[in-house]
Structures are given as structure tokens and as C-alpha cells.
């Protein structure tokens, strides 16, 4: 019964999403939207791992940030074109993801979160030490280059629509994976690991694959952000970035398809708004998170889905 409104919400959500992506740059400042989309894709990547495996990573900044550095370095120092730089970055993030996944999927729950947090801190300290990251200064003045060698990304509209296409690609991939047989197997692992093992599934291989894929998409988002804002810094690999993506997803709705997107919009908009108000972002975000966990745990999208489900049930009864 509750499947019907959820499917309706999902279909309506897709239509609204594509329409909004097309129209948005005429209503809002394109660079702001680019930032929103990068973080939204990042949150979707995080959500992929959570939604499939039930594993909550507190270290996703490692993939986001290292991809940002790799993309920046490839575009600036090696002079690679936009697409190649992005590809290098995603490759790098996937490799790190595979290694971190191999180590961390040995534990679950709280321990998994603590391990990913610690592993990401290793990347942070590496970024502080390695020469090509320029430590505290970060990588600056990264050239944006041209899409397909034709359209200059220095044009904000080109930048926006390129980002929108990348976002939509990544977002659809997450959606596909969640609904694929692969996604079903991984969810089976999440719900009852012993049973999945007894059915003959190589549980850890599926978990590792989901982890690596999640890292790759987080890397895609990070690389896109670095090119768009011509900047890759220590903030991108810092644990607060890992925390922020968890909070975005929480505020939007853990485990829902559109939740991470809604959360990212809310988060980036709030950050922009607070920047002028003098109130520290951390204070407000912290208060909102505490309130969210205590009062509306399902997050924005989760609460709406729940409400629609309840309405549908009520109308059926009467």
C-alpha cells in the first residue's frame, strides 16, 4: 500500500528535478547552484553506501578531497583537458576507495564509522605533507579548460550545465544501482548478512564494490568542485567535510533517493545565508542536527514521504 505513493513521489521527484535543473540558472546565481550540485552529488555518493550496505562512513572527505587535489594537479601542472583531469581524479578516488573499503568493511556499525574517520584523517595528514598539495595554501588558480575542447568553462552557464549533466549522470547511476539486482543483493546483505552468506553470496565482495563505487562518485563530485571553483584545499579532506556530508544526508533523509539532494540544497543555502549574519555556521548546524535527530529523524524528504503515505492510507479507508 505504501509502495504506491512512494513510486508517485519518486516519479514526480524526477520530473521536478530535471525541470528544476534546466530552469534554475535563470533564477539563482549559477555558481551557487554549481556548489549545491557538487555537494548534492557528494551526498548521493555517501547515501549509496548507506542505502545499500547500511554502512555509515565518516570518512568520505578522503575521496572527495583527494579527487579535488588530483583533478586540480592534472589540470594545472600536467595541463590535461577537463575530461581527462576528471577521469584521473575519479580513478584516484576509486583506488583509494578500494583500499579503504578493503580495510574498513571488516567491521560494522560504530566501528566502521570510527575506522573510516581515522582512515580519512590519514589522507588529511598526507595532504598536509605531500609537496603537490601545497599544504596550507592548497592548489589555487586551477584552470577550468573547455568541455569537449569547444565550450569554455569560464562561461558560468557552460559551467553550470556541465555540472548539471555530471550531477544527473551520477545521480541516475546511484538510482540505477539502488534498484539493480546488485543493489538488491547488497541490501539483502545489510538486512540479514548470515542469510545472504548462506545463499552463496560473496558478501564482502559486494560490500567492497559498493564502497568503491561510492568513493568513485564522491570523487567525481570533488573533482567537479575543484575545477568549478579553481580550488582544492585542506578543507576538502578535513573531517568536518566528512561530517557535513553525513549531516546533509541526515537533514534530507537517510536512505531516501532525493533526501541527499534536498539536504545539500538546504545546507549550502544556509551556509551562504549565515555567512552574512555573523552567526557561526557550526553553531546553527549543530543545533539543527540535534533538533533533527530528536524531532524529525526521517529528514525533509523522509517526513514528506511518510506524510503522503499516511494521507493515502487515510483516503483509502474513508
Amino acid at each position: 500500500m505504501s509502495a504506491l505513493p512512494q513510486a508517485m513521489v519518486a516519479r514526480a521527484g524526477w520530473a521536478v528535478l530535471v525541470a528544476a535543473l534546466l530552469v534554475a540558472p535563470w533564477l539563482f546565481y549559477p555558481l551557487f547552484l554549481v556548489k549545491v550540485l557538487c555537494y548534492a552529488l557528494f551526498a548521493c555518493a555517501f547515501n549509496l553506501l548507506l542505502g545499500t550496505c547500511g554502512l555509515m562512513s565518516f570518512g568520505h572527505a578522503a575521496f572527495f578531497g583527494s579527487a579535488a587535489y588530483i583533478a586540480g594537479h592534472a589540470a594545472k601542472e600536467w595541463g590535461l583537458p577537463f575530461e581527462a583531469a576528471m577521469l584521473c581524479a575519479v580513478g584516484g578516488a576509486s583506488a583509494i576507495g578500494a583500499v579503504f573499503g578493503y580495510i574498513s568493511i571488516r567491521r560494522q556499525g560504530i566501528y566502521f564509522a570510527m575506522i573510516t574517520l581515522a582512515l580519512a584523517q590519514l589522507i588529511y595528514f598526507l595532504a598536509l605533507q605531500l609537496p603537490f598539495t601545497h599544504a596550507e595554501d592548497g592548489l589555487t588558480a586551477i584552470p577550468r579548460g573547455k568541455v569537449l575542447g569547444l565550450f569554455p568553462l569560464d562561461d558560468n552557464m557552460v559551467l553550470y550545465y556541465t555540472t548539471a549533466v555530471i550531477f544527473l549522470g551520477g545521480f541516475s547511476l546511484v538510482h540505477l544501482v539502488l534498484n539493480s539486482t546488485f543493489g538488491q543483493v547488497v541490501r539483502a546483505v545489510r538486512d540479514n548478512e548470515m542469510r545472504a552468506v548462506s545463499l552463496g553470496f560473496e558478501v564482502n565482495r559486494f560490500k567492497l564494490l559498493a564502497f568503491t563505487l561510492s568513493a568513485a562518485i564522491a570523487g567525481l563530485a570533488g573533482a567537479n568542485k575543484a575545477i568549478a571553483f579553481k580550488l582544492a584545499t585542506l578543507v576538502d579532506v578535513h573531517w568536518s567535510t566528512s561530517g557535513n556530508v553525513v549531516l546533509m544526508t541526515l537533514l534530507g533523509g537517510l536512505g531516501t533517493l532525493f533526501g541527499p539532494v534536498a539536504g545539500a540544497i538546504f545546507f549550502v543555502a544556509l551556509e551562504n545565508y549565515l555567512a552574512d549574519s555573523g552567526l557561526p555556521v557550526q553553531l546553527v548546524i549543530g543545533a539543527i542536527v540535534i533538533g533533527c535527530i530528536l524531532l524529525f529523524r526521517r529528514g525533509l524528504v523522509g517526513e514528506i514521504e511518510n506524510l503522503l503515505g499516511m494521507l493515502a492510507r487515510r483516503s483509502k479507508k474513508s
Partner: protein
């Protein structure tokens, strides 16, 4: 390289190890009793340092009275937070505990950044503990010796209370099986509040001990708690004495690394964590939960 340098770094390592020990001991108590991986431990550590600074600056109350007042104040705040916030989520998945304490960490850090900005504030070494001893082979600053001794005393006292007193026995019973303990007429919710208070008071005390060594700043706890998480993963949360020993050993190893390969010193604990996970996923003293 002189033995002076090596011993000096080992001493720094031992001091860091004592801070890890106090922090991870607090984490272990809280995790055992409440099932919460309290990432806000870093905020309580920072508050401990700040409260000592405020006592001295605003009320003229010195280091030694603060040794009692600060853990008490931090513990009381922790108990209030447990009653108001944490209590509501015990029935949920453990992940919500981590998320909620992450929210609390973010909030408290934000509050202190707002009130005090991010610059560090110096806290003077108390007059009684200035100077040091010439051991012949090295110079031992009195305050550093004091920090190691004081934190070991805090840890051992906590361990003795938990292992040897009736209160500790009830606490362990509540950790092992809360429902059964309740059936014996023990007020387990009150015990949980108390346990959380003790756990964060240890972090507050660590903050006070750290104040004269590192300057007092709102962001001092965030990075520390991640290292302590790694320490806890290495040691496992099962054994109290185990977490103290692991902490001290890791602190010393970190100090040793600062001599041999200074660039990598702050990565050592994380690398050791990886190695331990590959060989013994449950941690050195851990048991699967």
C-alpha cells in the same frame, strides 16, 4: 642523534599517551554503558581546558582548585546533556548516538568559536610545578612529570572504582546486562547518567592537564578525538586496563616516530590501526559486539 632528543620525544609521547588514556577510558565507559561512540568527547576536553582558563582569568581560581572544580563542572554539564538529549535515543540504532554526539560536538565548538574566536589562549604553568629535575641524562620539566603522574592517577582511580567497589560492580553489571540489573532493583537510567558524567569528566580533566602544555582554543578537541577513536579501534572497547595500556604504548610509539621520521609522526597511529585491523579485526583487547 643524542639520547636527550630521543628521551625528550618519548616524554612528549608519554604525555600524549596519558591524554589518550584518559580520553579512551571515558569513551570505553560511555560506550559500554550507553552504547554511544561519544565523538563529543573532544568538546568536553576543550571545555575542560576553557573552564580552567575562565576560572583563572575571571575568578582568580588557580590550577589546584580547578583540578576538582573542572571535572565536576564538565561532568555535571555532561549529565545534563545525557538527561536532556541522549536519553531520548537509546532505543534507536547506535549510529544515531554517533550522529547526535557529532551534532553536540559541532554545536559546542561553534559556541566557543563564536564567544572566544579561534586564536589560542595561554594558560600558565602553576608556580608549584615550574622548573624541573636534572636526571643526569636528561632534564625533566616538573609539569610534564606531573601530567603523566596525575593522568595515571585519574585512570587508575577510575579503574579501581570500577573493578573494586560496590558502585563499580553495579556499573559493570549494568554494562553486561541492563535488563537483569534493573530486575535486581538497580536504578539503571540514573547509573547511565552517572556513567556518562564520569566519562566526560575524564575528558574535562584531560583538558585541564593539557591547558598549560597546548594553548587553549575551541578547536583543540576535534582532531584529538579522531586519534582517540583510532586508539580505541586498535585496543578494542572491551577492557579498561587494555585501553589504558594501548593508549600509553601508542603515545610512546608516536614519540619514537617523531625521532625517526618526524613527517610521518601524526600518521603512525592510523597506520598501526590499519595493521591491527588486517590481523585482528576486533582489536587487541576487543571482543565482537
Amino acid at each position: 642523534m643524542s639520547t636527550q632528543v630521543i628521551l625528550g620525544q618519548l616524554l612528549v609521547g608519554l604525555i600524549n599517551g596519558s591524554f589518550y588514556a584518559m580520553m579512551s577510558l571515558g569513551l570505553a565507559i560511555i560506550f559500554g554503558l550507553l552504547g554511544i561512540a561519544n565523538i563529543a568527547q573532544g568538546a568536553f576536553y576543550m571545555m575542560g581546558a576553557f573552564f580552567s582558563w575562565m576560572l583563572l582569568r575571571w575568578a582568580g581560581i588557580g590550577y589546584f582548585p580547578a583540578l576538582i572544580l573542572v571535572p565536576l563542572a564538565v561532568g555535571l554539564i555532561g549529565m545534563a546533556i545525557e538527561r536532556l538529549l541522549l536519553r531520548r535515543i537509546y532505543r534507536l540504532d547506535h549510529m544515531y548516538g554517533l550522529l547526535l554526539t557529532f551534532g553536540i560536538l559541532t554545536f559546542i565548538q561553534g559556541l566557543f568559536v563564536w564567544l572566544f574566536a579561534t586564536a589560542g589562549r595561554p594558560y600558565p604553568v602553576p608556580a608549584e610545578l615550574r622548573g624541573g629535575f636534572d636526571l643526569g641524562f636528561m632534564f625533566l620539566p616538573a609539569y610534564r612529570a606531573w601530567v603523566v603522574a596525575a593522568s595515571l592517577t585519574f585512570c587508575l582511580a577510575t579503574w579501581l572504582i570500577i573493578e573494586k567497589t560496590p558502585l563499580g560492580r553495579t556499573l559493570r553489571a549494568a554494562t553486561e546486562n541492563p535488563n537483569l540489573t534493573r530486575a535486581f532493583g538497580v536504578n539503571v537510567p540514573a547509573l547511565m547518567t552517572f556513567g556518562f558524567g564520569v566519562g566526560v569528566a575524564l575528558a574535562g580533566a584531560a583538558g585541564l592537564l593539557a591547558a598549560p602544555i597546548y594553548s587553549v582554543s575551541p578547536l583543540m578537541g576535534g582532531d584529538l578525538v579522531i586519534v582517540v577513536f583510532a586508539v580505541v579501534v586498535i585496543g578494542g572497547l572491551g577492557s579498561i586496563l587494555g585501553s589504558i595500556v594501548t593508549s600509553l604504548a601508542l603515545g610512546l610509539l608516536e614519540g619514537l616516530a617523531r625521532v625517526v621520521y618526524p613527517q610521518g609522526a601524526n600518521m603512525v597511529i592510523f597506520v598501526i590501526m590499519i595493521a591491527v585491523l588486517l590481523v585482528r579485526p576486533a582489536g587487541l583487547f576487543g571482543r565482537e559486539r
